[in-house]
Assembly symmetry: C2
């Protein structure tokens, strides 16, 4: 058996999702990027499950589709090129989990990054879509200016979530550099 190891925010998010999501679930990758999380989620939800994969960048969707096809998982995924601030409308119903991995499209040109205002709106919409016991993970990258703004805004947003309805846990690697990614988990109380 492998022993527990503290890795990074991204890893912690995957770890929790793996323990939460079960076959047949409906879940959301709110920042498709190069599709890593989409593939991961498509594996977890099984044949009867559904993944909504959202990104405004056609290049992201193209790469993700290629990966999913290679893995034989594409039938489980519904794609949207709308902004994730329209998440509630895109998914149109309750979901078990939503993953946000903020910042740039990996390998992209660093012009297209998630933006604070739309990010916060998207997380708010994700909250409104959660099933009881459902979970949102938000990885924030304060290593660039917009990422620092996102960190402040997400922190503030999370602080204001009503504790009767949501349990919110912030993870900080506090002896690391200030730009080290942080993870927020938002769970709707069952």
């Amino acid at each position: 058996m492998e022993r527990f190891e503290l890795k990074n925010a991204r890893y912690l998010a995957s770890d929790v999702m793996q323990r939460l999501i079960q076959p047949g679930d409906t879940v959301v990758d709110a920042t498709m990027g190069n599709g890593g999380d989409t593939v991961f989620l498509a594996q977890l939800v099984g044949e009867q499950g559904r993944v909504y994969a959202i990104d405004i960048q056609p290049a992201a969707m193209k790469r993700t589709k290629e990966r999913l096809e290679a893995e034989g998982l594409i039938e489980r995924v519904f794609f949207s090129l709308e902004g994730h601030q329209h998440l509630a409308e895109i998914v149109g119903g309750p979901v078990r989990a939503v993953m946000f991995n903020l910042g740039w499209l990996p390998g992209g040109d660093h012009i297209c990054t998630t933006r604070t205002e739309t990010t916060v709106e998207a997380v708010l919409q994700a909250c409104s879509c959660l099933l009881p016991g459902g979970l949102i993970s938000v990885c924030v990258y304060p290593g660039h200016e917009e990422g620092m703004r996102e960190l402040e805004a997400v922190t503030q947003f999370c602080r204001n979530l009503p504790v009767r309805t949501y349990t919110v846990l912030q993870h900080r690697f506090i002896n690391a550099k200030a730009e080290t990614p942080q993870l927020f988990l938002i769970q709707k109380n069952a």
Copy 2:
């Protein structure tokens, strides 16, 4: 299969220890209290493992011994009534894990609480005893004055740990009351 649920700091600490500790390990309960963690750790280390259980209160040791005897686990535990600021000397060798659950002896008279200076010294000594990959959990209770001081001191101590040697993760339930317990995990890099 039970789905992942965000609970409290104490639960997160147990959850991680369960995924880290394996039979045969040597581990430490640095705040024996009523023995809950000692019993938990004694189960995890198995017959070949060893738990060092530390508390300056004879009442804590008495209760803990009773619980361990009832569970048939007492042979796995070495007891010390010395202060946990002498942790390195008490254990005298490398350990896989150390649990700290700060504050009062549960059910006690609320006169005897852990103290900031000795707590920080104890965590420092615990760091010095860790095997590579070994882990310290520290649950802090800022709901009373000394607990608030402990939170500040532990936070500061953790911030200063060298990132090459230790990975340190702070867990905060950020939409809950300020006195909500926090968890610090300190892992020695493998």
